[in-house]
Symmetry: D2
Subunit: 460 residues, 4 copies
């Protein structure tokens, strides 16, 4: 579409706004799910409170960190597509605690509403006010960043909004952090660079060295692949000719580039996301001055290139926040490089902890193919959102599907119909690099990938 034609005419704009009313209504009807997830990191540092909120219908979510009082913060922005709130203030390097909360969210730039919402929640709840004139100013300062978690990974564009973020803030718990595909990492992915397209999430880790405490939290939505300390790729739907997971090494993928890259994108279902971001928080209890904390942020953020390969690309929006709670100011304080080494390892652990169990492809069972009459009952137009509709046809004893909206539905593309293979009576699949399940077992619904990342379409 040309530049000129993009300028919305008044008429189109009016239509758009009418459509928007529906979008708002959909968003408003969503029910926040708070602090979900069983795989929690429980850490002995109650000063750090964590609350998560999710809209299962996305799914997408938000993660809120507060500290019970103002703390010193720093920020390191490295990626090529960041979203930030108030990063400029942190950069001024004032040497007194001012930061109240760090907010991570899905929803790309729309999710920044979550960061400002925690700021206003602190005001609305009376924790902070607008008093800038007493010796210790009491205005809330919140920072935040976001990840891209829209299409092609999701069939809708629900985003974490003010309501969800404020609920998450108010539900914050001390010393408990849900790991995996929860909170802001609810629909994170990794490895798009090589077509891995693995499910990802948020991870945390905590370590105490004598008097020094270090906690790391990260939402891993990297273009790169998650890599362990043996150099192995942790999560990936591998290319057909690749070594299987466990022996697949990040360094090999990187060195084989651009060959490794070509296979990644060659298939018809090349649906791996090319918009990514890893957003991170490192917290230390050691008192540091702003310049030292900034150096710590740079060192730890840089070290993440070991665990995420590649890292800090133009297609990532990587941001790391660093916080010093200044609880400890004794003789066992570590110098900046040393603390940085320790913190970098805690961050690597956090990255590894972010990885969920990857769904596996359903097995085709040719004998399970339903009869024509049953197939006919499954046909119809299934609407997933204003952007995605899947037309299912039953003809000649076969079931086919084709996307008809603005966006493909995974391997179900818009260009041509795809034949569905039976798995069981009501369940079908499309073979390919990535597992894909189409579940018709609920009448009038088509559910893609039942389970944690399910997408639900309703027959029109």
């Amino acid at each position: 579409m040309g530049f000129a034609s993009r300028a919305a005419t008044a008429g189109l704009l009016a239509l758009a706004i009418a459509g928007g009313a529906q979008a708002r209504a959909d968003q408003d009807a969503l029910k926040p799910v708070l602090n979900a997830g069983d795989k929690t990191l429980n850490f002995d540092w109650p000063m750090i409170r964590v609350g998560t909120g999710e809209y299962t219908e996305g799914p997408t979510g938000v993660t809120v960190f507060t500290f019970g009082r103002k703390v010193l913060g720093a920020v390191d922005v490295r990626g090529g597509g960041p979203g930030t709130v108030n990063a400029d203030y942190l950069r001024l390097g004032y040497n007194y605690p001012e930061l109240d909360a760090v907010v991570f969210a899905g929803g790309s730039w729309y999710g920044l509403e979550a960061a400002t919402a925690v700021e206003t929640a602190l005001k609305d709840d009376g924790v902070r006010d607008g008093d800038a004139f007493t010796e210790e100013p009491n205005i809330a300062l919140t920072v935040g960043s976001i990840i891209y978690d829209f299409g092609p990974r999701r069939l809708n564009e629900i985003y974490p909004d003010k309501r969800l973020a404020q609920a998450a803030y108010r539900a914050a718990r001390p010393g408990v952090f849900p790991q995996g595909a929860e909170g802001a990492g609810r629909f994170a992915k990794t490895g798009g660079m090589f077509g891995c397209n693995a499910y990802s999430g948020q991870g945390g880790a905590y370590r105490q060295i004598g008097d020094i405490k270090v906690a790391a939290f990260t939402v891993v939505n990297a273009l790169g692949v998650v890599t362990d300390r043996q150099g192995r790729v942790v999560s990936c739907y591998s290319g057909a000719s690749w070594p299987k997971l466990g022996t697949l090494r990040s360094a090999d993928l990187m060195q084989a580039f651009p060959d490794s890259y070509k296979e990644a994108w060659a298939g018809p279902e090349g649906q791996a996301s090319r918009k990514n971001t890893t957003i991170s928080l490192i917290v230390v209890n050691q008192k540091m001055d702003p310049a030292e904390l900034q150096r710590l942020a740079a060192q730890v953020h840089t070290s993440m290139a070991r665990a995420l390969q590649p890292f800090a690309t133009m297609a990532d929006g990587d941001v790391l926040y660093a916080v010093s709670t200044a609880e400890y100011d004794g003789s066992a304080k570590m110098n900046s490089p040393s603390l940085g080494v320790a913190a970098s390892e805690v961050m690597w652990d956090a990255i590894l902890n972010s990885q969920p169990v990857q769904p596996v492809a359903p097995k085709i069972d040719a004998k399970a193919m339903p009869k024509a009459g049953v197939l006919a009952g499954l046909a119809g137009d299934y609407v997933f959102s204003s952007r995605v509709t899947v037309k299912v046809l039953a003809e000649g004893g076969k079931l086919t599907a084709q996307a008809t909206g603005a966006q493909d539905a995974y391997a179900i593309g818009r260009k041509a119909a795809v034949e569905l293979q039976p798995v069981s009576a009501n369940v079908f699949t499309v073979p390919g690099r990535y597992p894909l399940t189409l579940d018709f077992s609920t009448p009038g619904r088509l559910v893609f990938n039942p389970g944690h990342w399910r997408q639900v379409g309703v027959r029109r």
Copy 2:
């Protein structure tokens, strides 16, 4: 209050949240007033659409700029207390149009909710979606900044919120910009450095030079004094010994420092704000590349030090956004310094256009003093907000007032009661550097400064 004691205990936090419920309710009941103000700048550039929203009860507000399509943006952050959304993205210097909207708001950092709200409004209304995969990504990018407009200038802490900002965005009109104390500049002030404490607002200006269009918009809430091209202070409640306005020169105030400063803060009613910010937008129709646009931003922002003295202090949060609409790419394009000179003058005009007529002090009329019985009827505790209550006492034929909450009410301090002087039957004043009117003419209410900047208290 000491550092340790600031850590909110669970009990206090619970109380705070209970109080917050009330705060939220108050905020939710406010009614947006859109595009208010008669003193508009009408300019021949319909591509620039402006919407303002205000909560009269603050008063405070928001101003939204959109362009009908994506444009190239740059940002220059200079002040010591900025609030920003997405400034980091603009700094990357990508050479394609990406920016959708610029949002200015009152409410200090809480007002940043307005910036993210316009982003989500663009999504909710279907103008933008989350599609990052077509050749021209369609995700909305909104930037924004805020001014400090809380106490001591206001007796409440209402802030521009999501609801107000989205209403203002949807009410945007082409080529019309309300000037003076409207929109984000609804309760701006200037000259706190020298105790001037003048009312301020937002201003705009537009100039066309051949094919080149330049528009400037600014919300002037500077610590410094507004200065005209003859070097004269434009708005100020002058110190007692100073030359009167019209002959008072900024250069003299600056040179007389710190003497000029001392008088400024000496009086018992030294209520001028020491938290400030001027936020600005310069728009050109000439196609520029990111580095050139950044240079234009720096030159224009720097030039504002002529019109605002001092400027870019640690107590200002000055931010300027620059936009190139790239409508014109012909042979009459100006080089960067030349365009900068022209744009700087348009910005100076915009600053001058921001200044409202200053209220004058009511005249004391000793004969208007009501009788004791009438006075007794005025006594009571008038509640302005959770932070400000004014106790009015009638004793010995005199009316006195004292603030009893967390914050002074202008010259009505918390330390001692102040005697009120009669102006008319129901109206009183307290003499001093700044005009102050107390109007009891509506039963059960005490209205400070009836008119555009009024503050209403309700008798408990």
Copy 3:
């Protein structure tokens, strides 16, 4: 010339290097002139030592500031064409004194050799060594910036080199600063934006307010015009139709743009420089932390837009260094905005102090025209440098001149010969906006503009 043709072939490069040998020889034969100039600022702060060095043959020079011990430094880069050494280190914001010297020089980027030369002089002289392992590291840290002072203002390209800078460093004196066209400001100019083309220089100012000391130093080579506190242009060769100096106002020039600009560049002798830079140093004795000092730098640098109009353009390379000597840490310390106001006024004074008396045009005296025989004796090719030769012809009782090298010689262009008008027996001129004197009184020499800014050509 096309891009490809710019790639130097081996042959051309060899020629270039051969020419370079001559260039080096010329540069090596120059004699440093140290601490020249009678118009000194003498200030009561012996900790600040200043040394200047000049090559009269340029003329060009260098100014070195040292502090007798390490101090805290900050830097604010605002212009579009800066030259810097070690600015990155200052930006890290470490809170301990590390800076040894600030060096300003002419010679555009080549003059940066002066900054590194002072660093190595501190090493060679044993003031600093390479010891990074004792508690207080002893490595020298020097920062520096440069101004553009080459053609068209000069007819040669001599630059301040290592030898000159080290001599200036070693000649540094406490509390004495030469003002006007000395040191790094030896051939500075201002007002090119409007064709003013005024001679400029370096200025200093000092003020003590109670216990607080502030010193400001600046080398004013701005594209903009120097402006006094009444808004008047201080130095300018005015356009023909303009108000005369004293009534010419910067605001008027700025507002009349682009008309004022057009006249500036219309004449055939439009030789005003379009490459500029103002480099400045502000020193305070008050102890400040790095963030406060950075804010002071921003405020003072921004304030200079009043005295230099325009300022911080793409054609300026403006850099300001700020230093806190931390000698005073008592109760009279000023807050950052207040100190910034005071320092900004000291800087304005420094700018005004930089301006030398402007040479005036010689008067044509038609009767002074020498006879043909005498004229013939003046003819010849006068070589000013490898870039500039002026061919003088005596024909028909007239003397004409034409530039034949790579560069014009002021109003003596390369396109056509210009007739010279007699002033006295051996002295001629070319009328125009800018004064131009051609002095043949020394046999075999042509001296342009005898005096402080003279350029000497030798007949071949």
Copy 4:
């Protein structure tokens, strides 16, 4: 030494300058060694010319890169102790080729003289002039950075100066890059974080992928350890209890921190450097705009955290320059993340190529112990520089040594004399973590570590 006492008095300063005269004389007598080293990278890209210069007496050196024409450059500064020239200009992001040369040097901040020297060499040689007024400005722009290579690794403080850098520039050869401990990497070290204290150097690598060329060059002087793609430490004098090299893994050292760190620094000869820096250059032939090139710089620089662990610490001054020669602008251009992956691998290769063969400890041979008379002939005060003298004593049939100047001489400390163990008739050693050889075979001289990194002392 206290703060006040550091202020040099006039008397001390005079002494210092007198000492400096000697220092200068020493520096001036050094003879440049150009393009030394047999282990060259020969690459098929003649546009890139490389010259190195070394002072063997340091040893220390400089490496100069030129491109035959102006190219587009970008810079990424990440370390906590950088030295930079003209990085600010590169940051402005102008979209035209301006950069002439990149210079790397030893000598800490003093070595920045090398960067400015290449700038003036380009001027002196006539390759560039000061002409800023033609369409394509011809002023030379050089950038550069330095590494710390002084004590404790060296016993003198010779630095790469103007003379050496200009000689190296003039000796530049197309397509040849000396690897190992040559040029700016002449006395680089790595692994100080863990006490590895390995000799390091400079490395290069080159790869062509279809039409795309990538060259990487780096001077590896990292606090971290060089790590190969299997995660193994490449160079290290290991701690006593550690796995031997080949099985020693960086991840294990990092995870074992702070235990691994403690051993590192526990020994009496803990002489590993705690001041470090890795400076790098990535060159691509693909045309990129400034923002894309900046993203490439960030991605590649970040990726180096895999090969150098830790990286970008407060004790490193890491800087990476990126250059696009824009020779290729065809359809095979790679997107930024893809090119970044390829370039990151080339850079990893360059890092691995930087590592020289590590000297091994000489073997003690008790039978080689000379007789008392011979030992007596070895005694004396051996002067290595103004900072280091080693007193050798022969008593009771033993040879002992003690440092008497401002700095230790490796395991020969200043606190107590150390007994020397015989290796052969004229050669001795001190056992410990790091190899140390004392060679008396040249009469009147004591040579530490004969060979590439030798240090020579002359008996007084």
